[in-house]
Amino acid sequence: MTWETVIGLEVHAQLLTKSKMFCGCANKFGAPPNTLVCPVCLGLPGALPVPNEQAIRLATQAARALGCTVHPRSIFARKNYFYPDLPKGYQISQFDQPLATGGTIWCESPERGRIGIGVTRLHLEEDAGKSLHDRLPGKTAIDLNRAGTPLVEIVSEPDLRSPAEARAYLTTLKQILVYAEVSDCNMEEGSLRVDANISIRRPGDSKLGTKAEVKNMNSFANVERALIVEHDRQVALLESGGRVEQVTMLFNAAAGTVKPMRSKEESHDYRYFPDPDLPPLVLTPKWIEEQHAALPELPEPKRERFMTRYAITAYDAGVLAAERPVADYFESVVGAGAEAKAAANWVMGEAMSGYNETGRFGVSAERLSKLIGLVKEGVVSLQAAKRVYPELVAGNEEPRAVADRLGLIQVGDANTLGAWVAEVLAANPSEVERFRGGEAKLMGFFVGLVMKKSGGKADPKALQPLLTEKLRKK
């Protein structure tokens, strides 16, 4: 039996603001527990929320980056439920008048190629604190440092058709949000959280099957794994004549399984209503467009531009555009004079290894460009340049000076080369005769001898034509 998989994703991303969503506490990770707190985020009697302008700005930029319509008027709403890490007994969120709706994320599906996944909505809300179940025996411990951190919630249309597509969507979404400096989307640190909804149906069916919600995945790979497992569970269930119940499944990464949540609670009644402490959020269309204009060039347009402007392949453009620091570095190297294709190879190769390890580029764009120039001019060979590179990382020497110091400068001037060639030809008259008689493959023999005589310094590119010329002479 064939089944069509239908997946929708709900992503929560923490915003990169200095302070929290509704109070002036610092928005940072890793502080001692309950030290980044104040009356507002503690939910003390008498405290009141005041929204953070930068959070609004970043959310607006995120929404525009995803192609959403940002609404000039949106309303904060209270989402009411009880949980120990929710200090007010309600979360300030947005409900029926969210900040933004109607966007699209374009990504690469392994099965379908380029796909546009609908973004239903993007709205602002505050994060809850952290509940720790293993710190105090028999109790739950609460740390409210995270309570009140600004979040955007991004909900996709159920347009995804496979767990692999879900992963691609997330990768692309993360890329966009990181590019826009809206969030660092780090699932391990909790600045990005994903809940998935998945159902299956017969191909061609327009009605959606009953969906299950899947939670507790801490990486994109685990999102894919969890969805595969849940998909298989639903298929097995339906094929054996059973029915899928609308449940919430928790993924267990260690076991690679999903299990239903223990409490068979009826679904929450959040009793949403507009928050009377917060007047409407009103943004002018002009201001919204200014935020959009202030966005950096995003990955997709940057990829396109790299291909056109630098005449590099789609693959290379993709790798270079994946992260802004890499893309910017590449363009600086080209901007400093290096030829694009060579720059691409060096950035994707040596420079990337260093960047992936240390998070920075060890060689300035200027110096790398100079090194690339030396290769182009024939001053050093490519292999020699690769020996120069680590020296450039280790110190501040100019590339030519390093090459000189290491004795890697190629000799390409006609006089010196000419002298060596003359010596070699004079010392090997019979091979010269044989070459002139037609044994063309002896060229390698002469090249080798000149290289040896020059101690490896002869520039093969200059040598070749010179040898050819001298050998032809009669």
Binding site: P39, L42, G43, L44, P45, G46, A47, L48, P49, V50, P51, R78, N80, F82, P84, P87, K88, G89, Y90, T140, I142, L144, D269, R271, F273, D275, P276, D277, L278, P279
Partner: protein, 479 residues
């Protein structure tokens, strides 16, 4: 000169000290202890408040509009120096780690916090019979209620323990007790005074308000604490209230009388008090105009949907997790913590309102109740707008349908208690400013009337109220 101004000018000009005023207040608080109106005060605390004022430089003190003035503070406004209980077991002993903005502003103006004042639990009530710490007595007749929910503040001012006090209004909780106790209560426009540090009950209705024996007393306190607060997003970006100079007459003012507030069966004493006020307006050169506010009778039901709904959410934070009194039920788990803390920590009226509020917001009922109430609220606000647009500078109405009632008279039926608010709660729903002032007495108990003004027209309203006050003898028995 009003009590507040004469006390403050005495301290400013060095004729007396804040310490002397503090001693006097301590003695009066002791004398009025039987009212059960004051909570959590001490002579030491009073001395410390006075020391701050007396220790200021003379030039700083000369700028303090409320220098050395002792003010009672309703116990739902947070202070760091003593507990804030909200009249509830659930916050018994809770000492706030921050001060309300109004407290900071009053202190900057030189005022001294005399004591916290008893109230209906979480400001929910109209008689101050719903406090976990006992009911408050009416100063003129202990078998009567002083009104509520700010009954403690009203009683202390009426009994002369303090010249002024802070209360809060959600559905009339300052004007109604002011009327019952024969003093002045001013509710400012919504957004005029910061709510940061006022324990939230009905967020779109709540307003820190002031009591005084005279309009001038209460108005000076209000002016000192008013103004935009960056910590409260619902405050309006307007400068603090500046009072108009006193006026001797009401020439050029048109005062509307809404028919719905003068029913045929209005209490005879209340009617007589209003008649005196209407005559005084005419004698002072004001013009009377008949108007109608057709949706008035829906105000109380609208209020008792919106206020409990907001309260249900605002009181969800009282869960025993981070502060306050914690109780854990037999099951010993988290749910047992929530249900026992809240079930036992909240009194009956609070629990009823939380349950009603939860009900009207719950799935399936939101449209029929909460959304409907918002529609009617808009209509009520529009009724007032129309009356003002028709040429009224302000409106005059009774504050309460009767004088102070007896304790226990309305506690059996919650709806009976709610009806005590019929003339005051429309004002809260429309966010308007209003002032209740005494207009006489009936059978030994005070009578009040109120002026209601358009949004942000406090200055003109209060100068008119002061003119009326001067023309009326508040102690006179009316027929």
């Amino acid at each position: 000169m009003s009590a507040v101004e004469s006390a403050a000018s005495g301290v400013r000009e060095g004729r007396t000290t804040a310490a002397a005023a503090a001693k006097e207040v301590a003695s009066r608080l002791e004398k009025t202890a039987a009212l059960n109106a004051s909570l959590n005060w001490s002579a030491e605390r009073l001395e410390a408040e006075a020391a701050r004022v007396d220790g200021a430089t003379p030039s700083d003190r000369a700028k303090m509009p409320l220098a050395g003035v002792p003010i009672a503070v309703k116990d739902n406004i947070v202070t760091t120096e003593q507990p804030t209980t909200c009249g509830s077991r659930i916050l018994e002993g809770y000492v706030s780690p921050f001060n309300a903005t109004v407290i900071n502003r009053l202190r900057a103006a030189g005022a001294m916090i005399a004591c916290k004042a008893n109230l209906d639990e979480f400001a929910m009530g109209s008689s101050t019979e719903h406090s976990a710490f006992g009911r408050v007595m009416h100063p003129d007749d202990p078998s009567c209620v002083p009104g509520g929910s700010s009954g403690g503040s009203a009683a202390l001012v009426a009994a002369g323990a303090v010249p002024a006090a802070l209360g809060s209004e959600t559905g009339g909780s300052v004007r109604q007790p002011a009327s019952f106790c024969g003093i002045v209560g001013i509710k400012p426009s919504y957004g005029r005074v910061s709510r940061y540090g006022l324990v939230a009950f009905g967020s779109s209705l709540d307003a820190v308000s002031s009591f005084g024996r005279t309009v001038d007393d209460a108005a000076r306190v209000l002016a000192a604490m008013s103004g935009h607060d960056p910590l409260d997003a619902t405050t309006i970006a307007q400068p603090p209230l500046v009072l108009d100079p006193p006026r001797r007459d009401l020439k050029g003012l048109t005062i509307g009388l809404p028919a719905e507030y003068f029913p045929r069966d209005l209490h005879k004493g209340v009617r007589a008090g209003l008649d005196r006020a209407i005559k005084a307006i005419k004698d002072l050169g004001g013009t009377i105009k008949e108007v109608s506010l057709p949706h008035t009778r829906y105000a109380v039901p609208t209020y008792y949907i919106i206020a409990p709904a907001e309260a249900a959410a605002n009181l969800a934070r009282y869960d025993g997790v981070r502060y306050g009194q914690r109780r854990v039920g037999p099951a010993g788990d988290l749910r047992a913590l929530y249900q026992a803390t809240r079930g036992q920590g909240f009194g009956a009226e609070v629990r009823r309102r939380i349950l009603i509020g939860t009900y009207v917001l719950s799935s399936g009922y939101y449209d029929a109740y909460y959304r409907k109430a918002q529609q009617v609220r808009a209509l009520l606000a529009e009724d007032f707008r129309r009356a003002f647009d028709a040429g009224c500078d302000m409106l005059l109405t009774p504050t309460t349908p009767t004088p102070a009632f007896k304790a226990g008279e309305k506690t059996e039926d919650p709806v009976a208690m709610y009806l005590a608010d019929i003339f005051v709660c429309p004002v809260n729903l429309a966010g308007l400013p209003a002032v209740s002032f005494p207009v006489g007495r009936s059978e030994g108990l005070p009578l009040g009337a109120q002026l209601i003004a358009p949004n942000f027209a406090e200055a003109r309203m209060l100068s008119a109220a002061a003119a009326l006050e001067a023309a009326l003898d508040a102690a006179a028995e009316v027929r």
